[in-house]
Symmetry: C2
Subunit: 337 residues, 2 copies
């Protein structure tokens, strides 16, 4: 077999804060064949995720930082082109930890899910069937315990996870209200993502009053991707026995030193709340079932997904910064060629 | 039937903060017979509880304030001496909302539980079989989900609820460590309440370091009656998927304005915590089963309960202040005569 050239986007400088184009380099190296117990995957689509910021930094986090001069850690979907693993056949498509590169030699534990062929585009495995859709589905249903008629508040409602939470809430018979930061996103969330009302938290002034105006009966579920002042206000609008799902803490850029805020323990007690943390990688065993349900909903047109696909690996280095500037139109994906 | 005289301890002045003797008056009035659908209870023992502070004040709380010039709201155990309710017979003992008075005309919804006759003293229905034992049992098992070998941290461990939580943790096969405020209470909690180690939070200095020293493997369950600085430190010692039970917020005397503290949302997310509020009155339907199990444990000597019984209604007016000064030796109870 002729030698393959592997194009990689490597992390070559350690960012502080949001990774920028200058922290990455495009490199080429020959592809080694898969060894014993390994597969060779040819990536088709690469994911760009907010979590990559944490992976690129070396602050304390819940995963080890990406070593310098290695391909940027990323989820991807690709085709197995050689396999030394009996359970994984060449020609199968898989979703997993294959990094920002064209080819990846991987062991089976890097595979998160086999792609079930369907009429959905392959890139959907990085959006509605990927971490975003899976997070929305498993967190909302697993920790939110939604019941028809309940009221749901979502922070970053037009974002990659929030855009699915609104739709899942509508499908569950709930009334969903979202928070976002622009009139465009408000309109998009109401038109496409299942939200009955939206709040622009940047222009709301008194955030608590704005939430109470949009949610006069209070909220049974708060799906929170931000923490901070939005969470402070939201927790005070919860109904008795409300559930708060902490899925991210984007509002605070740094946790050293720990920022302060109004104490929540009295709200938790008197409203009998249940406030839970959710990290998708605890839920690997539930991925296949959740993806099957999401595929069914997507194929039936009950759930929509927006993707912005950038053509070519050379767009990867600046993609995380683009995401944090909020310029992407839907889930940001890199097409490998 | 000859007229009965009812001695009552009425709330006659509205306290700000802890109710003192001068906020109450001993009054006497003739007892009216029970009307249609009512019972007449002769109280034997009256409960003294920290929650009475909130009931006597008219600040916002989760129950309406006691009206002035009426008997102080209290739990009590007594005998039904006349009944116009088919399901409740004269001669039965009942536990419920009968107030600080000798006689109480009540409707059946004031009865929380019928007393099941046993070898336990009648006063046990206000301690191990009353709100304290029931709170410890239903909160610890219902929200804590304890498993053998797990680590449990308890604030106000020598208190009326904490003294049962340590014992229930030991019975569940857990290792319990408690926080309290004096060497005497530390010794008592270790000798009698199931705690393997105790921390004096007033003398600990760096509370986080003290908890980590006593709980080097971290904590799976934090049973919290205080909130505040103890909760701030404890939450940072939680193990992955730890459970925090918010059962009280005694550390903060006032919530107007809302006090601030270090933000918890990052801890909730990265440790995948579950932080729940518990109020016993949500769990009325579980009282009989929980009391039956607690009686079984108490009769078998697996759970001990300490009571301080003050002889006579005239001790009631100063009893709440005594409780808040920490002078009571076990659950504080008033014997009616």
């Amino acid at each position: 077999m002729s030698a393959r050239e592997n194009r990689q986007v490597r992390l070559t400088a350690r960012p502080r804060g949001i990774p920028q184009a200058e922290h990455f380099s495009l490199m080429t190296e020959p592809v080694a064949g898969p060894g014993k117990g390994e597969i060779l995957v040819e990536n088709r689509y690469l994911s760009v995720d907010p979590a990559q910021r944490g992976w690129a930094n070396d602050e304390g986090n819940y995963s080890a930082p990406v070593p310098l001069d290695t391909p940027m850690r990323a989820l991807a979907v690709g085709e197995i082109i050689e396999s030394n693993v009996p359970e994984l056949r060449a020609g199968e498509f898989v979703y997993g930890w294959f990094g920002w590169q064209r080819y990846c030699v991987a062991t089976p534990d890097a595979v998160l899910r086999r792609v079930v062929p369907s009429a959905l585009p392959l890139s959907a495995n990085l959006s509605v069937l990927g971490m975003n859709g899976l997070t929305a589905y498993l967190a909302f249903h697993g920790l939110g315990d939604p019941k028809p008629g309940e009221h749901v508040l979502v922070s970053t409602a037009a974002g990659s996870v929030g855009s699915f939470v609104g739709q899942l809430a509508r499908i569950a018979g709930c009334r969903a209200v979202g928070l976002t930061s622009s009139a465009d996103k408000m309109a998009q969330a109401k038109a496409r993502y299942g939200y009955q009302d939206m709040i622009n938290y940047r222009e709301a002034g008194d955030l608590g009053a704005a939430i109470r105006a949009a949610c006069p009966d209070g909220n049974d579920i708060f799906f929170d991707n931000t923490g901070g002042a939005i969470a402070d206000a939201a927790i005070r609008t919860m109904r008795l026995r409300g559930r708060i799902i902490q899925c991210g803490t984007a509002a605070n850029a740094s946790w050293t030193p720990v920022p302060t805020g109004p104490r929540p323990e009295r709200e938790i007690l008197t409203r009998r709340l249940r406030w839970s943390g959710f990290i998708i990688f605890d839920h690997l065993a539930e991925f296949d079932a959740a993806a099957a349900r999401l595929a069914e909903l997507a194929l039936a047109g009950q759930i929509v997904h927006d993707e912005e696909v950038l053509p070519g690996l050379e767009h990867a280095p600046s993609a995380i910064a683009r995401l944090y500037r909020g310029e992407n139109q839907g889930k940001l994906i890199i097409a490998v060629d």
